[in-house]
Amino acid sequence: MRLRHAVAEWAPAIAILVLGLVAWEVAVNAFGIQKFLLPKPSEIVTAFWEQRSVLWPAGWYTFTEAFWGFVVGVSFGIAAALVLARFRPLGSALMPYFIAASAIPIIAFAPIANAWFGIEKSSKIFIAALLCFFPVLVNTLRGLTSVKPQQVELMRSYAAGDTAVFRRVRVPTSLPYVFTALKVASVLAMIGAIVGEYFGGSQQQLGIQIKNSAALFQFETAWAAILVACILGIGFYLAVALAEIVTMRRYPSAQSPRR
């Protein structure tokens, strides 16, 4: 029963995917679209298979950069939110700057990050971490401070101090907000790592593969590399979403903020 339900739910989306790919293939043939503008799906899949020994190690290299950037950015974001929630005046003093800073196109710092952290992994990790930091900070802080006043009164009626309120009310209240931020961050981390790579580094990374293939007119290889990036990015996102489902089982689903 459950399987049939799942099939029924996913069938329309899968049908759209198949139709889209067929239309793409047909359109490229029918209109004689140049390969550098848009290669056929069949060509991309061929390149994806033939170049697999190059693309997957490159993808893995990029993914590790994104992963560590995610870990560093999320850790700092949550730590900063905990400090700012604990010391509210400091939070209100710094919050406008964090919001302003989150509007900065951080990608623009990629060439400078190369100067600061060297051209290898650390500069990409830095960019990915910086991209993750702000949404995690802002969301976590909002979660930690969106506790109902009555819940705090209740805890105070049990003679609870700030620390107990923090541990038993603020942190659990913030979890849905934190997971929303983690999902955003998982996507941003991949973007940060790949864009960082466009500005140099070893050959064995996805950003460089995409850039060089395009420069050499091997567009189907560039597309295949993008496909690898998509698979890894979606995988990363799904892993975070799965962690969310496991952790959030105990929460009413309507309560978790969606966006």
Binding site: K148, S157, Y158, R250, P252
Partner: protein, 261 residues
């Protein structure tokens, strides 16, 4: 020596903010152990504020509240009272059992003792079998019963209730009123109950404190001489209507006086 009053409110005034909104003015009240007291009055009469002064959740500008011979602050630190709000204020991520045992966790009870106590309380509020449910899987009335069980966990001598049934439909409210009286009789605690329902105040209380607004003052204390245990038939007794009418007229008089002023 006579036993200390359950709650003694001594010349309490509370002014909010810089513009000096007087929420409470020179309140003098004394509740004896085992009484069921309702605070009733128009919105803005400071009845919820007074309840929070008793619970040391709000500091009075003048005067003090003494709980069983202790300052309100000491009584809070000693966990001498249980609190129930209009919203059940349950933690969504905790099961019913874990919500009820929250105060016990904070008091450092071990797991076995907590489980035992929670079982007793869920039995008392007739929620046995719902231990592993989450609050959002329960109706409003059931949630409020969980909140009542939680307030009773550590057997407090005083229970403070801030419009606990205000958000429920009338049928549920009537039923929970009966249940609350049964629980009160089983625990012999003192209850201070904030409400804006005249019928509820008269039905539940041994005394009804009628308050007037802006500034919040005690207008009159009405003794409710209806015998306990009260039942659904109590609501149909002539004396019940007389008392309800008396409270209604007091509330109307204070309202009219304010309109004219």
């Amino acid at each position: 020596m006579t036993k200390a009053a359950a709650v003694s409110i001594r010349n309490v005034s509370k002014t909010f903010g810089k513009d000096g909104t007087r929420a409470l003015q020179n309140i003098e009240l004394e509740f004896q152990p085992g009484e069921f007291i309702s605070l009733i009055g128009p919105s803005g009469c400071g009845k919820s504020t007074l309840l929070r002064v008793i619970g040391d959740l709000i500091e009075p500008t003048e005067g003090e509240a003494i709980i069983g011979g202790k300052t309100a602050h000491q009584a809070r630190l000693d966990r001498d009272y249980g609190m129930v709000f209009q919203e059940a204020t349950l933690m969504d991520w905790r099961t019913v059992e874990k919500n009820v045992s929250l105060p016990l966790e904070m008091m450092g009870w071990d797991r076995g003792a907590r489980r035992e106590r929670v079982r007793e309380l869920l039995d008392l509020v007739e929620l046995t079998g719902f231990e592993d449910h989450h609050p959002w899987q329960l109706s409003g009335g059931m949630q409020q019963r969980v909140a009542i069980a939680r307030a009773l966990t550590f057997n407090p001598a005083l229970i403070l209730m801030d419009e606990p049934f205000g958000a429920l439909d009338e049928m549920t409210r009537d039923r929970l009123n009966l249940e609350l009286l049964r629980i009160w009789e089983a625990t012999s605690a003192t209850v201070v109950f904030v409400t804006h329902s005249i019928a509820e105040a008269v039905f539940l209380s041994s005394r009804v404190v009628v308050m007037s607004a802006r500034p919040g003052r005690v207008q009159r204390i009405v003794d409710v001489d209806l015998a306990y245990p009260r039942t659904n038939e109590t609501r149909e007794e002539p004396r019940f209507f007389e008392l309800a009418t008396e409270v209604r007229e007091l509330l109307r008089a204070s309202h009219d006086a304010r309109e004219e002023a």
